[in-house]
Subunit: 343 residues, 2 copies
Amino acid sequence: MKKYNVAVVGVGAVGVELLRCLKQRNFPVADLRVFARSAREIEVDKDKYQVEALEGSDPQGIEIALFAGTEGEKGASRMYSKKFIEAGAVVIDNGADFRLEENVPLVVPEANREAIFDHQGLIANPNCTTIQMIAALAGVYKQFGLSRILLTSFQATSGGGKKAAMTLWEETTEVVEQNKDRSFDGLKKKLKKEFSVFSGQIAFNVIPQIGGFTEEDYTSEEWKVVNETHKIFSDENIKISATCARVPVFTSHSEAVYFETEKDADLDEIKKAIRDTEGVVLSSDYKYPFPLDTEGKEPVFVSRVRRDPSVKNSFWLWVVADNLKKGAALNAVQIAEELIKGK
Amino acid sequence: MKKYNVAVVGVGAVGVELLRCLKQRNFPVADLRVFARSAREIEVDKDKYQVEALEGSDPQGIEIALFAGTEGEKGASRMYSKKFIEAGAVVIDNGADFRLEENVPLVVPEANREAIFDHQGLIANPNCTTIQMIAALAGVYKQFGLSRILLTSFQATSGGGKKAAMTLWEETTEVVEQNKDRSFDGLKKKLKKEFSVFSGQIAFNVIPQIGGFTEEDYTSEEWKVVNETHKIFSDENIKISATCARVPVFTSHSEAVYFETEKDADLDEIKKAIRDTEGVVLSSDYKYPFPLDTEGKEPVFVSRVRRDPSVKNSFWLWVVADNLKKGAALNAVQIAEELIKGK
């Protein structure tokens, strides 16, 4: 079996998860190089990795480069992906920088595996919130079409990076500390401090904003769900909108997804379409997954599939997945796996 | 000004909040009696109350009785409300026992104040989840009608009673304790124990079930939203369904509410209808309330009102309110206030 020279760019929460996924899934790696802003040695699950500095690096010989650095003008993708592509690598980019560009396939393999092969050097990994919803609905879309999607998300802090997840922990321990001599009735749940990572305290709270506010008063995260869904399904006719909120959870996003199918579908057919989708686990009746139980797991967990009795061909489902695995690193590695399998 | 002999029945989370609301709002109380399963003395905000045992008590002379005891066959409402009514009291019942019965008005004053006066001794207070959504939508409904509502809730633990809120605190401190010698990367977030109050660990988790599972695989909480909304608006034509989930928050429910109006409405008209509703506070652009900031406050806080660009006359809003105040005790006291004001 052919082995590939692989690079992982970025060693934050997603970069580390990429290293884990490559190993756990036995991706056929010949040479593995790890890049970040600065050179150093890191340890992941007791494996040591030598990290090279991106600046001045020579990507020659790299065949597949998984980018998980920061986004934006000064982020790794905008600054270095072109150099990697020109040196012959196919870049699979986890960030949002190129997702909506023409000639950049945006891929959830369960939904649009075939798009991978239209790449011109760069393939984009969708947003975490989008990926798990798309995986849950991919089978339904193929069989029945989708005319309408309304998503409400309960997003984990690690979606904002490791520092964001650490913020939840720090705030929680501070609240516990400031109450160590208080009874439950006198609890002081609010911290008096400046908040920098989120717009307020995330411990014991809900924050209905992810990303900045943009068109029509939706956040950038909410528009990602809309625009990426249209692109992945190649279907602008799906009427879709979203409300995205942050909850005090470390890892795994939960989503309440309402959808209407184009063609007639009954509940059993919908469940079958979901159950038959690769990578999706459908809970049996009255069972449902918790974020805490899905952390570190690969599947997209779907539960609470039920019809909306008030409108024909309309349904709800609850979908939970590890936002760092299927929501980011795993989906990127799966794209790489499909890429090397070929058409 | 006439003063009334008032009784509060039950001294759990909602009962205590009833005592607070009566005092804070200067309800014209002549004689106040407090009842619970067993006699005792309790203290609320440094005020002492003598609690009488319900069994064998004589409700003669009580004019308004606010019931906040447990629900079901052996709960205070089913066991004692009839006796209070026969002794001449108007019972305002916070529980679900009688909400859907004919001849029992179910009231959110912002929406259907006039129903109060059709009572035959008992007036029901809706479910917390319903109340804040109805208050947020009352002005919109009156002006434009509602054809469709889809609600997703992020519910606080205190909605399950004081013990449920304490469970969140106990679990959180246990997780902090079991990690006191661990670094963030090695955190053990899951507790190994039996869970009795919720179906699993609520600390750092999301639980997509409130109440038991019932028809069409919805939970009892989700059906409350549907059935109570139909009854309060006297409108069975509203197509409505819900997904209700518990989040690690102590007090104040958050809700993502999607709705479609019957008549044409633009965003400014919708905002005006919400802003003009008594008891509702509409945040200015890009501001939104947190559960932590609304705890102990009376208003229903609405924010993130925006149109769904993909469907005409469709909108989203985010609504947060203290589930023990407007979601329970305050709404009950407001019903009492309207009752004594008269038609």
